[in-house]
């Protein structure tokens, strides 16, 4: 068991209220605070913990996108990853990039780096797709342990407890495998200042999708982005009687 690849995505920070562009071509991202996707933080934490428990020797953080994503890779390095890989994608390719293209990149990297595990976040909080892990596993023909809330390495197999609709499910999958991290898998650590300084010295390799033989053509087009139907303003009520009257007037009861 030598190497784990962890995917990290740079997304608009979860606390930011997003705005749709006036031309409906997308969401405003310029000048808006970005950070690491919360599920990716959990994925990084799990990989680093596996390394601390000596199940694996090296954790490689990977991100796809323009130059700014190197900040996200540095955060992963500060959390304990050993080195990073920045797959440069920018301009129209970046705008059209979706989970299928990312999965192809990760599959190619997993083979190139001879990874035993690929750990990704369950979903990105911008597109809410919840697809990349499953597709990466398919392209590699590896098993998938998705929505993981507990991961235990057991020899050449991984026992994964998964969060499903009715509760929890336990599966055992052989390695190499792809795991996707759900919310309760762990609590990600804060990067301490000494680790942030150490991270500056860690290596981030640069490459392009073409170097990995990946075709970035996407056959999905975003036609338009809209705001959800406008809601009416809320009303504060002071007594239960008022509440009942308002609910009746509203037609709810």
């Amino acid at each position: 068991m030598s190497r784990v690849l962890v995917g990290v995505k740079r997304v608009i920070d979860y606390a930011v209220k997003i705005r749709v562009k006036p031309d409906h071509s997308g969401v405003v991202t310029d000048g808006v605070k970005h950070s690491m996707n919360p599920f990716c933080e959990i994925a990084v934490e799990e990989a680093v913990k596996l390394k601390e428990k000596k199940f694996i020797k090296e954790v490689v953080a990977v991100s796809c996108g323009p130059t700014q994503v190197t900040e996200t890779i540095r955060t992963a390095l500060a959390m304990g990853c050993d080195r990073g890989i920045h797959v440069e994608v920018s301009g129209k390719d970046y705008e059209a990039m979706g989970p299928l293209q990312i999965a192809k990149i990760f599959a190619a990297l997993a083979k190139k780096e001879e990874a035993s595990l690929v750990i990704l976040g369950k979903q990105a909080i911008d597109d809410d797709c919840n697809q990349t892990g499953q597709m990466t596993a398919a392209l590699l023909d590896w098993p998938q342990g998705t929505f993981a809330s507990e991961v235990t390495i057991d020899g050449e197999k991984v026992k994964v407890v998964r969060e499903i609709d009715g509760g929890l499910e336990t599966i055992k999958i052989s390695m190499p495998a792809v795991l996707t991290a759900d919310l309760r898998l762990n609590t990600p650590r804060y990067a301490t200042l000494p680790n942030i300084m150490k991270a500056k010295k860690k290596k981030i390799a640069n490459m392009k999708p073409a170097d990995l033989g990946v075709d970035m053509v996407s056959r999905v087009e975003v036609l338009r982005v809209d705001e959800p139907p406008t809601r009416l303003a809320g009303v504060k009520v002071e007594t239960v009687d008022d509440l009942v009257a308002k609910l009746k007037a509203n037609g709810t009861i």
């Binding site: 979860y14 209220k17 749709v20 979706g98 989970p99 299928l100 909080i125 911008d126 597109d127 809410d128 797709c129 919840n130 697809q131 499953q134 597709m135 596993a137 398919a138 392209l139 590896w142 098993p143 998938q144 998705t146 929505f147 026992k159 969060e163 499903i164 609709d165 009715g166 509760g167 929890l168 499910e169 599966i171 055992k172 999958i173 052989s174 919310l183 996407s218 056959r219 999905v220 087009e221 975003v222 036609l223 338009r224 982005v225 809209d226 809601r231 303003a233 809320g234 009303v235 504060k236 009520v237 002071e238 007594t239 239960v240 009687d241 509440l243 609910l247 509203n250 709810t252 009861i253």
Partner: protein
């Protein structure tokens, strides 16, 4: 009769790409006893596309579910695949089956409900077909154009898929379930694939509940961190019992282990779309509230984000009912059978 045979007779070879007969395979989710309701919503979506709707029932003991599916209005064929390898609906085992079925019948669309099962399996299938899946759609505008939510429901994205087979999952709350009545589908066994052998289903620990199912309920009562601990959720269960509501929880309450994970409501939990949502002791983070119609928020913090939400919400600032007499609470008519003391205790709790 295979679809290839139909269109070869109708269309000259040169026109084949334009004459492909539309059909949407619905992959059924079930527990070898009953069909999961979200599959009925997936069937509704499939019917909206036009064309045939075959339904695949794969499992260890399919007869009963296959019988149920054959009665669903609009389903043309029930494709049955029975094998012990399908125990636990492992995606590694079901994917080769779906790929073989696709190769045999050449569907134009493949879909499933966007449940944990639907999120786990279709993306694996679509990557093998080298197509991009479209997840959790809320509307179909055309056979190649779908609407889905992004940013926790704070924006809607209309996407056009130009792949030769569209794989998508359907949000259950956006499509009314089809009637299990009036249908008379034919059944056909499909060849079972060889076991992939890379994954093993061990066990499931499911929470038993007599409450209505969260994603289908018309009224949902949810608790958050403001309830302080898991025992206090009993107040919500009792209230829900009286008014036939489902009980949910915010991410914070689940993280703090007040309640199990399957009760989580919101962007990364279950999408609910009730007529009435009662949020007790929930701060109202953006990610929690997508999909709600009328929201009643009970919270002692007047600055809680839930009160800032632009919505048809009724913000019931709990501190002000501190002095309301029990008799007023008893007049909380829509709760009718609810013991006024229960509601009073609930609000007293939030005030502590």
């Amino acid at each position: 009769m295979s679809y290839r045979l139909v269109y070869r007779r109708v269309c000259p070879r040169s026109f084949l790409p334009f004459c492909r007969f539309q059909s949407t395979l619905v992959v059924a989710e079930h527990n070898n006893d009953k069909l999961t309701p979200i599959t009925l919503s997936a069937i509704t979506a499939a019917k909206k596309l036009g064309g045939d709707v075959p339904c695949l029932v794969a499992g260890t003991d399919c007869a009963k579910v296959a019988q149920e599916v054959s009665k669903v209005l609009g389903v043309k064929t029930v494709l049955i695949a029975q094998n012990d390898a399908y125990k636990g609906s492992l995606p590694e085992e079901l994917t080769p089956l779906i790929l073989a079925t696709q190769k045999q019948f050449n569907f134009t669309h493949i879909c499933a409900g966007a449940s944990a099962f639907g999120k786990n399996l279709p993306p694996r299938v679509s990557a093998k077909l080298d197509v991009a899946p479209i997840s959790d759609i809320i509307e179909i505008k055309a056979p190649d154009t779908f609407v889905r939510t992004i940013y926790a429901g704070n924006a809607l994205s209309t996407v056009k898929c130009n792949d030769n087979v569209k794989v998508f999952t359907v949000r259950g709350t956006s499509f009314e379930p089809t009637e299990v009545d009036g249908g008379s589908a034919t059944s056909e066994e499909v060849a079972v694939s060889a076991s992939a052998g890379m994954s093993e289903w061990l066990e499931a620990t499911l929470t038993n509940s007599d409450c209505p199912e969260l994603t289908r309920a018309k009224v949902v009562v949810s608790g958050g961190r403001g309830l302080k601990n898991g025992e206090n959720f009993k107040l919500l269960y009792d209230l829900a019992d009286k008014i036939n509501a489902a009980v949910g929880a915010s991410r914070a309450a689940v993280d703090a282990r007040y309640v199990p994970n399957d009760m989580q409501v919101g962007q990364t939990g279950k999408i609910v779309a009730p007529e009435l949502y009662i949020a007790v002791g929930i701060s109202g983070a953006i990610q929690h509230l997508s999909g709600m119609k009328t929201i009643v928020a009970i919270n002692k913090d007047p600055e809680a984000p839930i009160f800032q939400v632009q919505s048809s919400t009724l913000h019931f600032h709990v501190a002000s009912i501190h002095h309301v007499h029990c008799v007023n609470l008893a007049r909380f008519a829509w709760l009718g059978r609810c013991n006024h003391l229960q509601l009073f205790s609930l609000t007293r709790l939030c005030l502590r």
